[in-house]
Structure formats: structure tokens, C-alpha cells
């Protein structure tokens, strides 16, 4: 990551559109616009739809800023500079659950429809145009708006299919989780990569014949034709804005129809089966509350292995923002739906396997920052996860503690639960492993390792006697 002497850091994900570029200056998010983009911005602010979308929280709040704030691109100074609302935690579509991606899709299409009615369009259709304020999707790519040219279809359609619609079709129609597919391909799933999975009667599922098969066939057939020729031909043949609006409405109808197939998830009833007594639970909640209210109010809390979000909610009462990560997409989807129904804007649920967190992706591996790059929390909750990593995934205990320290901001706190080897849950995990494989999985070893990385400020053995909670100030 490059940093200029003035402390201006160009956003590594913002380079594909030369007309504008995003920079970070301290805590601020700024966007430089070239002459044409600045003209589009001025026209955009004069429309009716744009301020309405910003007021409704659907588009990130944006205002003019002094152009001197960001350095010139390739010698030419930016014509205008914008200041954006800061998104509390940047996430990627492969960390979202099905319903999150679907809601993001519907918001993108709603914004496009509102823009078209007012003479504007979006020049792309990427899932990466969207971010979250808790369980509320927000469109962030202000540079994507441009005046619509009548008689032209949506330039972002192909990208929308690849990064939004095809992943949704994969999960809705085949019950296959889309996250690993999106994570592996920064530009999304191509039609030809998905078509073989939709053979036979599956062709008849909603959206498949047209948006996938016909689209893929047309891409092959017209691979040689230039898009400017095709645009002119379509205009001459009478392609109208009404037709474009009808297409967008059709896609909205399709996306609304797509739903996740219910699957029996091991984790979705974890809270009921995990064997906590009411006494243990009450003691644990008290400990977590005390741990988060000692010292300054945390700005960002990470809840690792959030499950149904019980502790994420507790944390949200004492922190500005909580990122609740959980590896089971079905569990995250349930959590998201509940949070959305509550209008929760300070808890962001994400799909993430703790033993295989999102790596850096895209150009030079920095275009999409890895999870570890983004996570620097004032408090990390690791409740009932250490045994899953240490026994379930064979991660050595010192590694687990190093990893927790790495996710914590300097002087931040880690609230961690150690499940003793005698605990029924730990025994269940150990029963599937060869005898004597984990001689170091002991409470005293864990405590010694923790003390070597930070200062243990509080400690509580739960009434059941097989679990201990620690609050540790890292590096302290």
C-alpha cells in the first residue's frame, strides 16, 4: 500500500475508472474527479432522485471538499474533490449471506431505476458498488452515475449478472453457496462457467434461460462485434429508455423471486444444544458486559463465531460498531434477516471461516483487502471458538493467540473463553481425534501463552467449572 508524504493513501480498489479515484486522508474518504466526472457530479446534484436517495440513506452521503486535499493524477489536478461518508467496516460480497446479496441487488436496481427516470444511469453494475451500515445496504460508487444516452441498454448489465445475479441463481436454484465462487473470481462468475450446471430441466428455472443461457450464447455469437456498432444498431432499431426500464423492472421481479433453499444447519440450533446452563449464560453475559465497559468505549468490536448474534447485540450496547463473523452462511442469513427486521445499523453480520479468512484478492492481491488487513478492533470477542480452532482445526494454541492479538488494535482487549478439555463440547471434538494428539490443550498452558502476549485483567470460571473467561489487554 503506497502512502504519499502528505499522508494521503490511494484506495487500492479504486483504479478501474480513470475519471475518478478514491483516497483516504486520516479518517476521511475523498474522491478526486476529472473534468468530465466533475460535470456529471454537478448535474447529479441538480437532479431530484439523487438527494432523495442520499436522504433515505440508500446512497452514501457525499459533499464537495477543497480540491487541494488530494494529489493530482498523472500531473493533472482533479477538477473537483468529494468527501464521502465513512463506511464503518468495508466488506466484500463473498462475505455476505444470500439475503444480503439479494438485498444489495435490489438496492442497486432500485437506484438504477430512479436514476433512469431522471436521465441518469450507472456505468457499471458491480456488487462491489455496495457496502453496509449494519444490516442496511448502501450504494457507495458515486463515480458510477452518468447521464444516460437514449437508445442504449445498461452498460453494467454483464457485470451485474456476473457479480450479483449468477451467484444468486447458484444458491437459489442449486443450493450451492456462492461465496467461494465470488471469492475466487474478482470479476464474478462468467456465463460460460455456470451454464454447464444448468442443463436439462434446470434451464427452465426462473431467469436461467434468458439471463444465463441466451446471454452466454449471445456473448459468444457477438464476440467480434464492437460495442459502439451494436449500440448504434440498437438505437436505430428503436431501443428506448422505456424498454430499458422494463428490463430493469423485470430483473427486480426475478431477484425478488429468488430465495435460499432452507437447509438443516448444524449451527442454527447451536444456542439450544450447546449445553450452557442458565447460570453459566448469565455469568458469561455479565463478564462480557464488564469487559466491554472497562476503559474507553470501543469503536469497533469483532465477534468471532457470532452464531445467533447474542453477544454481538450485547456488544452493540457498549460499542459504536460490531462486526459479527460466522462461518455458516445459513446462520449468517438468519442473523441478517433478524437484524434487518429490527432496523439494526450497528451490527454487520459476515460469512467467514475463521480458519480460512478472506485473503487479499484482485490486482496484486490488494484490490480486495484481506480480512486481517481490515480488522483492527478495539475489542475482540472469541467466545467458545478457541477449542474449535485448536482441536477441530488443529491450529496450535500459540498460533491462535497470535492471531487474536493480530486482530486487536494496540491496547485493545481480547475477551476469550477457554473450554477445558473436560468440557462435554471439547470431549466431543476430541473423541474424533487420535488419542494424545493435543497434550498442550490445557488451561494452564493457555493462560501462560495469553499472559505472554498481554495483561490478563479479569478472569472468571463459569459455574459449570469447565469453561474460563479472560479479559486480556493485548501488549499491555
Amino acid at each position: 500500500m503506497t502512502t504519499s508524504p502528505a499522508g494521503v493513501r490511494p484506495e487500492p480498489a479504486s483504479f478501474r475508472d480513470p475519471a475518478n479515484r478514491v483516497f483516504h486522508v486520516g479518517d476521511e474518504v475523498l474522491r478526486g474527479l476529472d473534468e468530465q466526472a466533475a460535470a456529471h457530479w454537478r448535474a447529479l446534484t441538480a437532479t431530484a432522485f439523487f438527494p432523495a436517495l442520499v436522504a433515505a440513506g440508500k446512497v452514501c452521503a457525499t459533499e464537495d471538499a477543497p480540491p487541494a486535499l488530494v494529489p493530482a493524477s498523472a500531473g493533472d489536478p482533479w477538477t473537483a474533490v468529494l468527501r464521502h461518508e465513512r463506511i464503518p467496516f468495508v466488506s466484500h460480497p463473498y462475505e455476505w449471506s444470500f439475503t444480503m446479496l439479494r438485498d444489495a441487488a435490489l438496492l442497486h436496481l432500485e437506484i438504477l431505476r430512479a436514476a433512469l427516470a431522471d436521465g441518469f444511469t450507472t456505468k457499471d453494475g458491480s456488487a462491489y458498488n455496495l457496502q453496509w451500515r449494519g444490516a442496511e445496504a448502501v450504494f457507495i460508487d458515486i463515480g458510477s452515475f452518468e447521464p444516460v444516452r437514449d437508445g442504449e441498454p445498461w452498460a453494467g448489465y454483464r457485470q451485474f449478472c456476473q457479480t450479483v445475479l449468477y451467484p444468486l441463481l447458484l444458491t437459489a436454484h442449486l443450493g450451492v453457496d456462492f461465496q467461494p465462487w465470488l471469492r475466487a473470481r474478482v470479476d464474478g462468475i462468467e456465463a460460460d462457467q455456470l451454464r454447464p450446471l444448468f442443463a436439462g430441466a434446470r434451464r427452465l428455472r426462473p431467469g436461467v434461460l434468458t439471463h444465463l443461457h441466451l446471454h452466454g450464447a449471445m456473448q459468444q455469437r457477438h464476440a467480434e462485434a464492437s460495442t459502439s456498432d451494436v449500440r448504434a444498431e440498437l438505437r436505430a432499431a428503436g431501443f428506448s429508455r422505456e424498454l430499458l426500464l422494463a428490463t430493469v423492472r423485470g430483473m427486480e421481479k426475478l431477484v425478488r423471486k429468488l430465495d435460499r433453499r432452507p437447509t438443516g444447519s448444524h449451527w442454527s440450533d447451536y444456542q439450544r444444544t450447546c449445553g450452557y446452563s442458565a447460570q453459566d449464560r448469565a455469568a458469561k453475559e455479565r463478564f462480557v458486559t464488564d469487559a466491554l465497559t472497562t476503559g474507553a468505549r470501543p469503536r469497533l468490536v469483532l465477534d468471532l463465531g457470532a452464531n445467533d448474534g447474542r453477544y454481538a447485540r450485547l456488544a452493540a450496547e457498549h460499542a459504536d460498531y460490531v462486526v459479527a463473523v460466522e462461518q455458516d452462511p445459513a446462520v449468517v442469513d438468519e442473523l441478517y434477516r433478524t437484524l434487518r427486521a429490527e432496523g439494526q445499523r450497528r451490527i454487520l453480520p459476515l460469512v467467514l471461516d475463521l480458519a480460512d479468512p478472506s485473503p487479499g484478492g484482485g490486482w496484486r492481491g490488494v484490490e480486495r483487502a484481506g480480512f486481517a488487513e481490515r480488522a483492527s478492533a478495539d475489542a475482540v470477542l472469541a467466545l467458545a471458538v478457541v477449542h474449535h480452532l485448536a482441536i477441530g482445526r488443529n491450529v496450535p494454541l500459540p498460533e491462535v493467540i497470535d492471531w487474536l492479538a493480530g486482530l486487536t488494535a494496540p491496547a485493545g482487549a481480547v475477551v476469550v473463553e477457554f473450554v477445558h478439555p473436560e468440557d462435554p463440547m471439547a470431549r466431543r471434538l476430541l473423541a474424533n481425534k487420535p488419542d494424545g494428539l493435543f497434550p498442550d490443550y490445557r488451561r494452564d498452558t493457555f493462560e501462560r501463552l495469553l499472559a505472554a502476549r498481554g495483561r490478563i485483567t479479569d478472569r472468571l470460571e463459569l459455574p459449570s467449572g469447565t469453561r474460563t473467561l479472560y479479559r486480556t489487554v493485548m501488549g499491555g
Binding site: 478501474r16 475508472d17 480513470p18 475519471a19 468530465q36 456505468k123 457499471d124 458510477s144 442504449e152 441498454p153 445498461w154 452498460a155 453494467g156 448489465y157 454483464r158 457485470q159 449478472c161 434468458t210 439471463h211 441466451l214 446471454h215 450464447a217 449471445m218 456473448q219 459468444q220 455469437r221 457477438h222 464476440a223 462485434a225 464492437s226 460495442t227 456498432d229 451494436v230 449500440r231 444498431e233 440498437l234 436505430a236 432499431a237 428503436g238 431501443f239 422505456e242 424498454l243 430499458l244 422494463a246 428490463t247 423485470g250
Partner: protein
């Protein structure tokens, strides 16, 4: 003014939007292909001369 495309919209991806746009869209697509066909026949005699 040079218009910088953010990315390639894809020729096939543009045409398919007419096809998925219901009856009116199909009519646009049919007209586009009809024009291409007519153009091909019109051009042929000129080419042979």
C-alpha cells in the same frame, strides 16, 4: 470528447437486454437482425462489381 468506458459492456450483453425486455424488446431485436440481413444483401451486388 472521448468517452472512457468503465469496462466493456459486451456486444452480446447489450443485445440480450433487448431480447429479455418482453414483446417490445423482441421486436427491437428482430428489427436489428432484419436490418443486418437486408444490409448483407444490399452490399453483395456492389461487392461483385
Amino acid at each position: 470528447m472521448i468517452h472512457l468506458a468503465y469496462l466493456d459492456a459486451g456486444s452480446g450483453s447489450l443485445i440480450v437486454q433487448a431480447v429479455v425486455g418482453g414483446v417490445a424488446g423482441a421486436a427491437v431485436a428482430a428489427k436489428l437482425y432484419w436490418r443486418r440481413l437486408v444490409d448483407r444483401f444490399r452490399r453483395q451486388p456492389t461487392d461483385q462489381r
